[in-house]
Amino acid sequence: MKPRLLELRQAVLDKNDQLAHALRRQFKAAGVLAVNLVSSPGAGKTALLEETLRRMQARGWRVAALVGDLATENDARRLARSGAPVRQIETGALCHLEADLVARRLEGWQLDDFDFLFIENVGNLVCPSDYDLGEAARAVLLAVTEGEDKPRKYPPLFHSADLVLLTKLDLAAAVEFDRNAALASIQAVAPHATIFETSARTGAGIDDWINYLAARRRDLNRDV
């Protein structure tokens, strides 16, 4: 038995990446802007999405959402109240969404029927960062109730963000949120990221984020 070296030079997540690229092509061809929402558990992904879906529909946009959760369908039920098509991805023990879970859960939906698809990832600031879901934009949420330095503690995920949304702004005063420290922390690891300051409860900043998404969707169609 003589040893032999086999050169492979392959990304370990190649299979996921290939699937994600295929999804990205499908989304683009259908004119759907796909957004991957990531945050720690409890940062307000579902509340933000609920308000976003409601307002976008009121403006005539066709929106849909996939919701990843380890267990329970509570978030999907909450989002379905908006009237938008919502599907749950129960991940079991998996701490993040993968492209094939998204692809499988999309089966039976006509992507042409949507303008925007939101993918609410599993609450986790580590694992989702390596998994491309074919999204056009990755939005990472940071609640004012979390530490202002969280982006510095989780650079891989925050660096992978196209945009960062500060959430629960209505609680800022109560928790003595240091806005400048939070912004500096985001800019330290993600200087490229667009930042929105939002509150799902008061509606602050939600329209700005929706306008940003609408602009991103126009760009998507332009460079087909």
């Binding site: 040893p3 070296l5 050169e7 492979l8 370990v12 891989p156």
Partner: protein, 134 residues
């Protein structure tokens, strides 16, 4: 703990490549791991030994080559290495940096395989049949 998911993908790639090459077993797996890949090397090693069970990779050593975070500073027009904790500013001119050159890799570089002799080949296949349900 996505290290276990990654370990399973890693083992699958190595096992498939070894099988195609007609190897008896994989002796070593060489992996390049970026400092910003968000993967903990120790957790990956631990997961790797579990994921490798019942495959040609069982018992193989995982050799991890760390890859530093390298960015390109547009102001200096130079590549720069960032040290943890990562702040995306040029260490020289202190301006924000936007281009990541390397540091997110989770890449299998190569595997060292043992060429099979008829006997050891049959043995490892038998072992596989027992542990692979479908």
């Amino acid at each position: 703990m996505h290290e276990l998911s990654i370990a399973y993908d890693l083992v699958e790639i190595a096992d498939e490549a070894a099988r195609k090459a007609g190897a008896a077993r994989v002796r070593t797996v060489h992996l390049r791991l970026g400092a910003m890949a968000g993967v903990v090397a120790d957790a990956l090693r631990f997961s790797f030994s579990i994921a490798a069970g019942g495959t040609l990779v069982a018992g193989a050593e995982l050799v991890i080559e760390p890859v530093a975070v390298q960015v390109c500073c547009d102001v200096c027009a130079q590549p720069r290495v960032l040290e943890a904790p990562f702040v995306f500013r040029c260490p020289v001119c202190k301006q924000p940096v936007f281009t990541l050159i390397q540091g997110r890799e989770i890449q299998i570089e190569s595997i060292e395989i043992e060429e099979s002799e008829a006997e050891s080949q049959a043995e490892s296949e038998e072992k596989l049949d027992e542990t692979t349900p479908s």
